[in-house]
Symmetry: D3
Subunit: 335 residues, 6 copies
């Protein structure tokens, strides 16, 4: 089996217990995550061979992050320890009509200080069959952007599948680049697009509508503009409340439109990382040769199940996901 | 900005973790609350200048209560430390169809032993624009009743707005007075009535019906009987289960009937203090000069959001409440 | 009042906190349970005189199990301490569409090593009015099967009411006997059958359908085949998700069909032991002389309320259950 | 074996976790205790037949207290549920040079409201071989004093051994009686005195010195003044810090002075209830016919071991205590 | 009474529970501290009027820090909310021979970004009788250094007492200034020096020895070099292990040498902030007019007691400290 | 660098929090350990290449154990998942004079069911430079014994260093073999002996005395009897209490006696795995070519530091251990 490579920040999440506000708490639960690392961890749970590329802090926090990734089964041999603190964020978890809130401390951290010369892409991409990136990494710093770009260029030249999850976050991008342009540039170096109407509109400056026709049109326009991209995979979320969500997935493979049934999720345990669980489901489908319809059903089920798992990472198995993908959402006790 | 003054018991809540019964627990979570202090704390979160009047125990429990109030930003300079234990209650939290249960230990506590001569109302009401009281305080002891009455008389004479939240609790009122009569007497010393058909029926011995017409009739009758009262603000709750509630607010300003849309709250985190959150919302509207319709929308949203906050006090901000008051109940993650 | 006797394994449940997976946890919450002990504990909460018969480990784990049962008010004077570890199981609690998972360590434990000669049924059944057993016990080991059989034979000869809850668990029954046959044999020694179409089909090898007609037919067939059995009590569960269930109860008393209204349970706190709560409700009805319709309403309400209680045992009171049985499911705060 | 009866308040201890102050805590650990109940619980762990007499609150707090006592194996059949809250105290646990602090809420509780007519001493003392009381009970209220006195008088008339542990607590005795006089009166109704120079001086108004000669003289004087008393058992504590203590025991049997070696206790886990553990050790010696020297060695070891147990009750076994009584204090791991 | 003003970073401490390493933990306990804020908080516990000057993050973390300070009773009206994350540090707590370890994330935080123009020293120092600073603040950033310097210059010109605690931390001072020189400059603007041989050697580049004679010589040299300084207060710590310490205090008032007895602290609960507790003790002595010998005895006792308090802040009272200062270190339970 | 291979059970430890008894607890902390796995984990923390050989349960408990080992950096590629529960033990942690107590559930578990044909020693020992075993493994079952013996024979034939830690545990060895004989047989297949007078006496049936001369004589006798053994490494523990220990190490290299200074450990955090930490220290010395004196100093310091780490595994680093080995035991805070 080939190797999947992911690149991105390893970030620590710190949350008061339950639905507490910080000001009524004395302790915080923590998790290590990061959108690309979440994908890597999920893929490792599925049994794939995965390597994550990043910087961590050269202290006991960074060691704990490394131990966590190792525990997931991720290859950490190319992660560097540097003399900057690990990025982190605080999150107050909402419930029902109260939204969760996040505040970041990541712009001067270990990953923000990554430099292209620290990453030996030649060695890393040797034996790699798929490289995954997201729009968060190039939004952090010039160094992160340049490092990623080098990797994408080399990967593209080697014929490696490149999955782009180019979400645009307006509150990042503080180092001076135009996020829309950078994402467009990097998507042009990619072969699979994970995103829908929002992402296409952000990147191409278009105005497609939020419906099935809009998605088809956006996907076609994207493939037209970015010839390296062959397929577009999207998920559509309806948020009824912080603890009640609905999701379905759709795809355009250049010729045909695919759509899953919608899964309703009540009693959400953890909303973070559900998009990454979807991405990991897609990558698993791509790496194991699933058909498009099967792939999005698996990815959608993975996304749905992640809502029931605490932390940033989808710890469910291929078997659990497949059962939900086939429509069993009864949650019946397994003895 | 003027000063809001609240008067009432500071009481400690002790609850087993989660939905545990006492007999299956070894620890208790505690919160300091008290219906009027909850209003004060919420107003302090909104940025108002608030002073609470009470007695606490002269021991480390009382000190913790004071520190808690100080942390909320409440002025505690007129709270006395006395040689009686702090009032407290135990609560087993229900879920779904199982009701929460409460048992009190408050009738011989610090507040029950308050005496009119301990409270310097002259000084306290200097600069005060609004005085808030509830039906709990006069139900505790003769001393609490007399102390409150002195304050109301002085406040009324000074033209201070007086908000009365005269809920009648039949299991209190053990010291010999007739609760209905006392509440009627004290309401006559007030200018704003927080309550609806139930409260009017309890106080006036009437039989108005639980609907819109009943509310209008009750409000008119009340204003007729109690000329100091200018407006009546009510909220109507439908309890589907311990964790699923619906609420809307209504008001009668002497001429017009106002009503908000109904908010549905699932996954209730904490049911306690939601009425106090409503009252605080009203007081905020009154103090900041909101129109009636805006006031009840804000108060109803405050009440709804309190259901998502652990503890007795509504820790949400004016911004969060305003967003819900304007109809956004999607609970979408804020980064 | 007579004495109820229960026989079965005392087993320890170990669960990660909340909805955590084992691999993301450092601690486990534990409860002592066991399907028949759960019935005993619930009956003791109701004020009945109950004795449980079992083996526990002769170490501090067994002592803790005994202290737990004593705390429930169960007579433990005939429980033996033996030199085998206490049976236990691990459970990862699911939520929403994710199922809970259980893995057992019980087949070489204290109860699995029980022998008929260790149990003095003569003394135990003296003064006993009802003996309760389930299909779990004879599935554990030959010794458990033989010990139970001796007790049933003696009880039947003494005219004691014998309630059978013969659920068939396919993943037990590893010691060589055919479970269907053993359950049939033991049911023939019983006087009340707790189960429905599934259980009858398992035991008699029939194919009755899962509906009201099927239940009636199955119950009639059962009573025909097993003349000692006089009544059949069943509950029907619809699992919408791990945290959302519906249940109703039905019964056949040899002549008439009875059925309760359906109760919907959201925000499930703990799914384990809900069937045992139902059985305990039935036994309570039988021991206190309730009519059939009243009995199943009480049992169904007991089952529903157990979903709101953490742990294996239904800790709610007769008063709480009766209120739900009479249709009050609003969960309104009791001060 | 005969029955030991204890009489006294069941009180709830509430402590912040670890060495926290209340003002820096959000939760409290709780334990049920009470000096006489602690003795009962310890004796039940030793396998004796023990009954405790008290009042508890008629609510879920009282139920939890009863379940706790039942779990210890104490006979609770003569404990009444009354409509007053359970007594309780808060404790901030000190460490090293910082003292622990306690504040009480017990003077209007369930036990303070006990009345002689609520206790059926005739039935209770039937089959009783030893009745144990302490100086705390008569200090709470007139009712507690009168109830105890009735029991002592009846027990003395029946020739039952009566162990008195008449510690004088100056901050109690608020109901009007002179504590010194009451304790003297009740000691005269007792047969075994648990106390030393301090207690004798408090009760007789003497000035004996705090040394071996003082103890002998005090014991002789006491026996001279109170002819029913046959033996005097004492323990001597040297407190080096909140977490470092030394203790030894001494006794006077009317003719001979006995003294144990001193045990040093570092890393104290819980200081509360150590005197009760000592009293339970004495009672165990008396009930099982140990010689005086053996009795005080056992009692002193019990007291020492209690310092290593969280909560008010000594949960160690006869075997563990005997090992320490024989001089093994190495704490070597037992597999 | 006058007002004490403190200036410095408010920093969050995050520690795994107990003695855990980060890599074996899933949660962190947090405390807000900061060497100067710790002094402010301790003084507020003593009843002094204290104001702290700082920046915090404009998010829910900063709000929690503000609420914490308010809860201590500190005046926070001149603390600014800025758009940078709150400084923080992680700490793994050692035990016995294993050292605690700390790693910082503070150099790009809210306080590091403070600017002189953000602080209105004129208003702040109005009514101020004592200004306290430490060597940490000017080590963080040029802005912090300049802001502090402005405050000191103004305070000196107003005749305010200025207490300097100029500890030199070599791992800070990354922004380009020479720490030794800056500390010397700022000490010259101060009137009371808190430090001993180490600090003098660091600042003056001297080589005094670590003994009584060395201290006297160093103090004399310091006063000679820095004419504004009138007195030198020092404490001397002997660390036997992470959990076992000895401390005494000494002082030079320009003419006489003072020294306290040494206090031994076993079972250390929390080592952080003990120096700040000492400084707060000194400031309290200065503000309340204690003699030098009394002041250092109080400060040394405050320092000793802080070792028994979790978190960064000394929460003990003047009464508790005075008792230890007078030699009572027995830790005897206070009921 | 070569590969170290360890063989043995992976076992789960379950302990009540703090110093609680099981009967006063509702939760358990758990750790994965096992004497040989502890060595592997410690070596992985030191940066060595380590592989552990074992069976785990094929369920989510086994998966958690695997994730834990992976997180330590141990190669788990040759660990099998089998259909038997993971071995486990419960431990009540003592303090001071109260001993910790352990009760096992391991004799029918995953490792007890290991069979020689499940382990591919040829592949495993390829590239291996050191194989470590202890006396626990052959005591569990015939299968474990035979599997280990095959590995030792092959390793010896390949000239691999074999470290034997043949502690004799009398409460194991229930499957029929004579433990003394089996250990002697397996030691003869080893090249380094970890043990002292006790172990030699157990294995050879000798009566050497517990002192330096006894150790020398025992070591010489052992080497004489078992020619493959070249060196004997021992540690000597003096247990003052459960929380206060002293240790030193000694060795005999065939010609010379070596001895370290004694380290005193107060405030023990966790006593389990300290012997394994010592063994890991030795293996590290052997693998990195340390001299004997340096090796035992390192191993003794590793053992001492493990007493400060919760759980079974020594998580300290080479740097921390080296500092203690060089005599720094002050536990001074590292910023």
């Amino acid at each position: 089996m080939g190797k999947v490579v992911t690149f991105g920040e390893v970030i620590m999440r710190l949350s008061p217990p339950g639905y507490n506000k910080m000001k009524q708490s004395h302790s915080l639960e923590f998790f290590f995550g990061g959108t690309e690392m979440n994908v890597a961890a999920s893929l490792a749970q599925f049994g794939l061979n995965v390597q994550h590329i990043s910087n961590v802090s050269d202290d006991f926090v960074g060691q704990a992050a490394l131990a966590c990734m190792q525990g997931y089964g991720i290859d950490i041999s190319h992660i560097k320890k540097v003399n900057h603190p690990l990025g982190l964020y605080f999150m107050e978890v909402g419930s029902g009509l109260r939204a969760s809130q996040i505040t970041y401390n990541r712009l001067h951290g270990a990953f923000a200080n990554i430099k292209p010369e620290q990453v030996d892409w030649e060695t890393i991409l040797d034996g790699c069959t798929l490289l995954h990136w997201t729009g968060i990494s190039p939004a952090i710093s010039e160094g992160a952007y340049q490092t990623l770009k080098q990797g994408l260029e080399l990967a593209l030249s080697k014929g490696i599948t490149i999955t782009a999850d180019p979400a645009y976050r307006s509150n990042l991008w503080q180092y001076g680049r135009n996020g829309h342009e950078v994402l467009a540039e990097l998507c042009r170096l990619s072969t699979v697009f994970i995103g829908g109407v929002n992402e296409v509109n952000e990147i191409l400056g278009t105005q497609f509508t939020q419906d099935e026709e809009g998605f088809k049109a956006a996907a076609q326009k994207l493939i037209q503009d970015m010839p390296n991209i062959a397929k577009v995979y999207d998920k559509v979320r309806t948020g009824l409340s912080a603890t009640h969500q609905k999701i379905f997935a759709q795809a355009w493979d250049g010729k045909t439109y695919f759509k899953t049934s919608e899964i309703e999720i009540t009693d959400v345990v953890d909303r973070i990382g559900t998009g990454d669980a979807y991405a990991a489901g897609l990558v698993y489908g791509l790496e194991t040769g699933m058909a498009v319809a099967e792939t999005i059903a698996f990815a959608n089920a993975a996304c749905a199940l992640k809502h029931t798992i605490a932390g940033d990472v989808n710890l469910t198995s291929v078997a659990e996901i497949s059962e939900v993908a086939q429509g069993n959402v009864s949650g019946r006790l397994k003895r």
